[in-house]
Subunit: 409 residues, 2 copies
């Protein structure tokens, strides 16, 4: 399987998103308000899938994952990768809520199963919002039947808006795959990782296709896409208790689409969404895209790229548009990968800053200009092997700290 070329280039940021794409044939969606956190705002969303729809999912690796994540993981296994409905709510994460939280997650799944006339194991769930608070079950249960009934009239826009927390705009993307006169689409939406008290918000992604794919094919496409998108971004280094990305295939467009093209479409949609998440990070001012080449292995390259992109000092320099490249080298040097300055070269935005052992004599205005782009493009060549990787983050800003600290209860 060849890599998707569009998924390794510069990190252009599609933001804000354009008009919402249509849901792929077979899926329907709806949204409603259960006044979970605020009255009047849509905070529950239901996606319905046709009989036989397949499911793959990547759930948070957080050891203290929320009840709906635990339940969905079990349902994925027990349904052998099939799904009839996905219920998502914002405003409450149902995490660290004990036995009662799990009982609530199960009760909601049972209610969705009854309303949609599907097996309970065919229900997937996710919740995003405050940790340690119980769901308002009466108000939520009252919305399940209306959600199921309204689904055929809904759009991905309604769904994407209902799952937002601190996102400033809804996020979606789509690609079309054509093959021998037939076509299928991959449509995705997500909510970002912005976090604001009392929320530990959550990254939730949903990738939908009308291609017919068995669960293991779908899982392969999802994991390939996530690997080059959501697994290559960071806002604040925290992994939430609820983070999940779901992939669903309705089968309405039939099978037989080339696997390479489908995987590329999944990857591009996931990458667009991931970049929107970075772009909509709290207090966002400027992005940083770190590309590392010449590492002993790809894994080493990723370690270095992630360490540089996540360094607070580098991220502060990015915010300030400050050509303080010593911080990039210092972060690379503590990544735990064997390096030697004599082999190493650094360029930012194509401007040479350090070349195999010594600083480059690039004029200061050029260095400053390189650090003042909307996306600061860092290229670090370690000169030690064939490994390469990338990682994307954003400058650390006063706005981020303000949003996450100065909220008083």
């Amino acid at each position: 399987m060849t890599a998707c070329p569009a998924a390794t280039g510069p990190a252009s940021v599609p933001c804000p998103t354009g008009p919402a794409p249509a849901l792929p044939p077979g899926f329907t969606a709806s949204a409603a308000s259960a006044a979970i956190k605020k009255p009047g705002r849509a905070d529950m969303a239901l996606l319905r899938c046709p009989a036989g729809a397949t499911l793959a999912a990547v759930y948070t690796t957080n050891q203290l994952c929320a009840a709906p994540v635990q339940l969905s993981r079990r349902h994925l296994r027990e349904s052998r990768g099939h799904c009839g409905a996905l219920l998502v709510n914002s405003g409450c994460a149902n995490a660290a809520t004990g036995d009662r939280g799990m009982a609530n997650a199960i009760e909601l799944a049972d209610a969705v199963a009854r309303a949609c006339d599907i097996a309970t194991v065919a229900v997937q769930e996710n919740s995003t919002g405050v940790i340690g608070v119980q769901l308002p079950m009466d108000r939520m249960l009252a919305q399940v039947a209306p959600l199921a009934a309204a689904a055929e009239h809904g759009s991905i826009e309604e769904f994407a808006r209902a799952i937002m927390t601190t996102d400033t705009y809804p996020k979606w993307a789509s690609r079309t795959v054509e093959h021998c006169g037939r076509r299928c689409t991959v449509v995705g939406c997500c909510k970002g990782a912005g976090m604001i008290h009392p929320n530990m918000a959550t990254m939730i992604g949903v990738l939908l296709t009308d291609a017919a794919l068995d669960p293991s094919e779908l899982d392969g496409h999802l994991r390939a896409g996530v690997e080059r998108s959501f697994h290559r971004i960071s806002i604040d280094g925290d992994t939430s208790t609820n983070d999940s990305v779901f992939a669903l295939a309705s089968g309405a467009a039939g099978g037989g689409f080339p696997a390479d093209a489908l995987r590329c479409a999944f990857t591009e949609v996931a990458r667009d969404l991931a970049l929107m998440v970075v772009r909509d990070g709290e207090g966002y001012e400027r992005g940083i895209h770190v590309r590392v080449t010449g590492a002993p292995t790809d894994a080493d390259a990723l370690t270095v790229a992630k360490t540089v992109a996540s360094s607070l000092l580098v991220r502060c320099a990015v915010t300030g548009g400050d050509p303080n490249w010593g911080r990039i080298l210092a972060a690379a040097g503590r990544a735990g990968v064997r390096l030697d300055l004599d082999d190493l070269s650094l360029a930012v935005g194509g401007v040479r800053l350090f070349e195999r052992g010594g600083p480059a004599d690039t004029p200061l205005p050029d260095r400053e200009a390189a650090f003042r782009q909307p996306m600061v493009e860092v290229h670090l060549d370690l000169g030690r092997g064939p490994g390469s990787e990338e990682f994307i983050s954003c400058g650390l800003t006063k706005g981020y700290v303000e949003l996450n600290a100065d909220y008083t209860t």
Copy 2:
């Protein structure tokens, strides 16, 4: 060897420091200005040790460590743990400076050796300041002989002030060990890890004793002390290219002091200094001290404590005095250690927040008060074993971002 009780209690912060202690007998110090970054400010400091003085040191693990660190590491090995003089400068890190940087470090060491009439391998060096800039060698070499000549009149205060970069006050601490009517002292000074453009500043610590200790004994005391102090703090997670802690023993007070008492004194002095570094972190408003108990192993406890104390979201909550304890659990859950909410309890400042599976029903004013102490004391019991550890950091503030971002070149 028993643990030092004072080194595991609450993280009280001795700040600002009181009057400077006297140098332990045998040592002399001096400071001078070479106008490395700014004219008029003392930016070179020399510490002289008597013949036979022993040395131990812990150098940065950063792969791209600075020339003086590489040279000092070699001298420590070649001198078999002996030292006649320690030269430190601020204003320039001599890091990422290539062959010329190493030649400069060697030339300075040779000059110090000549001026002090010692072997070159008996010279230790460190530099702190900008990365990627060469030392102003003419001005620095001109100060070496005057520094050596002036050393007998100097104090630890002069030394501590000359090595400061963005520190707002000089840092020192001392302890006395008495044994059978004899006494020795452990006196330390350090500069903090505050970082501001164009500096990648550096943590430099110096621990001095007049006890007679062979290099391996001294190394044991130093490592024990560093392990419970500098290795348990973080300001921004970055490890500089220059971080070093030196221990020197003059022998003037003779040998035979109990190893336990000496190790305890080293640990307490190092811990005082480390807490001062945190307290003087850029933009400091409030500290966080995370204690983890009930872990499978001490190493697991440290992993969890460090992850919680370093979490940007937890650190923002600390700044805001925001009792957002879900962030503490979420950070613990992603630390990579196997956890179960049903076993886990969390208290902050003695206030119960989560108890074995469910949120505690502590009133909000009590929770708020716990998060608004000068040092937020987090106690996380994992309920899974005998391992315990601690880690200390501080809230992430707008002041930190401002200092590290909004400096324009």
